[in-house]
Amino acid sequence: MDKTFAARRRRDLIIAAVLAGLAALAPLFIKDVYVQNILILTLMYAALSQSWNILSGYCGQISLGHALYFGIGAYTTELLFTKFGVLPWFGMLAGGVIAAIIAMGLGYPFFRLRGHYFVIATIVIAEIGLLLFQNWEWAGAAMGITIPVRGDSWLKFQFMRSKLPYFYFALVLCSLAWFVTWWLEDSKWGFWWRAVKDNPEAAESLGVVVFNSKMGAAAVSAFLVAIGGAFYAQFLAYIDPESVMGFQFSLLMALPAVLGGIGTLWGPVLGAAILIPMTELTRSYIGGSGRGVDLIVYGALIVAISLALPQGLVSLFSRTKAKGATR
């Protein structure tokens, strides 16, 4: 029994390594910048969704306000860079730490809320964050920040001539988020989180401090999302509140996980691999103002998934589920 469990964990790790290896080779065959762009965004959203999944999927605290942490990562990096000349790599880490601290600060009052009330609180807080940044003169207010071009370099983490370095960073970030999830899944925290999601009262009776578990999940989740935000800011080379903290980011972190399988190891990656290219393609084929159309596609997908496969697409591959269903 233990053997099959260990074997499954090892198999997941091998599959991930193979996929990451294949992805790393993709640029050899894909030269089209537009397609490369889609790949970069897909990897980034896979990473973000994987991070979102830690708090909302495993620990069951559904957040629709993760755009806040994304924006904090982006702003911390760029403010430190443009105002104090701090290298983006340090800014990235600082953004992660600040986002984690803010996540815990917000968790302190909000983890007392349950279900829909918690979700509403996360939306409201992210909107407040957006408004604050829109009015914060020092941080560029609604005008945003343009990142000064200093030439292509890994040190400054900016590249004008080629998108490939961004691609590799996104791949590393995605692998990291996956690996962290994989590692946490078979740890004390992973078990605590799932217990908290399923039944907080029972978890508490088994020695799980529910509140601390939620705080831990929030911190890890926010940290990783902020790293993604810092990356995105460097990638765009220009940020304003709406383009790094808008509500659509909260949605785009949640949807891949929901589509692929919420609270599962592979769900976010699978969901992002389907959803993000589809979004980009509908946008480009249906035309400039296609913004509404991709939302219609999301909506239709989510309805279809929740009706046909409430556990997400990964349940098609899952054996436990099939075995369980016979009983």
């Binding site: 029994m1 004390k188 978890a203 508490e204």
Partner: protein
């Protein structure tokens, strides 16, 4: 030697309703104590107070020589209070073994050890064959058993069983009784709330009868069932006079 568990003058009020009034009970090490009484007697409330789900309005709770009144449920579990729930609260999306691992993690921080411990507990409780099944796929009797297994995995000194034998078929109940005996033989003190008198009375060393939030009678099961006060509480005064 002091008692393992003691409640001293415990009161619990919910608004105008007094669920427990001045309840003082004690449970000695190695005992199986039955907590019985008609519906609404305050048994479950007392259980929740002992497990730390809510603090008593008044009074203190002592466990293993310490005042634990102010401690939350998770900390009481860490000190050795394990419990089951009257309405089963399995972790439905997790497998049986994973459910038990959550409990085992209280005393084993290394995953491999927690997993080993969980397997041992599943053997002990007769659930080993169901280890990799989702908890949501268990039949009700198995879910009850899983509640016990999960609590046992925390290596409690005191196990609180809340109606684990209620609603089972006679055969299932007998297996349950055997399990409770086995638990006690493993050195764990048991305090159990139970409705089914004919099952619980031969099992317990001592019975405490609650009625209207108060301790009505306390003593050996054979004495308790004959006590006119108990009969009247369950069946009404008319029957008590006959006894």
């Amino acid at each position: 030697m002091t008692a393992l568990l003691e409640t001293r003058g415990v009161w619990q009020r919910f608004g105008g309703l007094v669920a427990n009034s001045d309840v003082s009970i004690s449970v000695g090490r190695g005992e199986i104590v039955g907590l019985i009484g008609p519906n609404g007697a305050g048994k479950s409330t007392l259980f929740n107070l002992i497990a730390g789900v809510l603090p008593p309005t008044q009074g203190t709770i002592w466990f293993d020589g310490e005042d634990v009144t102010a401690l939350p449920a998770a900390e009481r579990c860490q000190r050795g209070v394990g419990r089951t729930f009257q309405v089963v609260k399995s972790f439905e999306t997790m497998t049986v073994i994973d459910n038990v691992i959550v409990g085992a993690l209280v005393r084993n921080t290394v995953m491999r050890e927690a997993r080993r411990k969980a397997h041992a507990v599943l053997e002990f409780t007769g659930l080993a064959a169901r280890a990799n099944v989702l908890a949501s796929d268990l039949v009700p009797a198995e879910k009850r058993r899983l509640e016990v297994a999960r609590a046992l995995a925390t290596e409690p000194k005191l196990l609180l069983l809340d109606e684990v034998l209620t609603g089972l078929t006679p055969t299932e109940a007998q297996t349950g009784v055997a399990l409770v005996r086995k638990v006690r033989d493993a050195g764990i003190t048991v305090l159990m709330v139970e409705h089914v008198m004919e099952i619980v009375m031969p099992l317990v060393d001592r019975a405490i009868v609650l009625d209207l939030g108060k301790v009505l009678v306390e003593g050996k099961p054979t004495e308790v069932v004959r006590d006119p006060k108990v009969i009247s509480a369950y069946l009404g005064d008319r029957h008590a006079v006959g006894a």
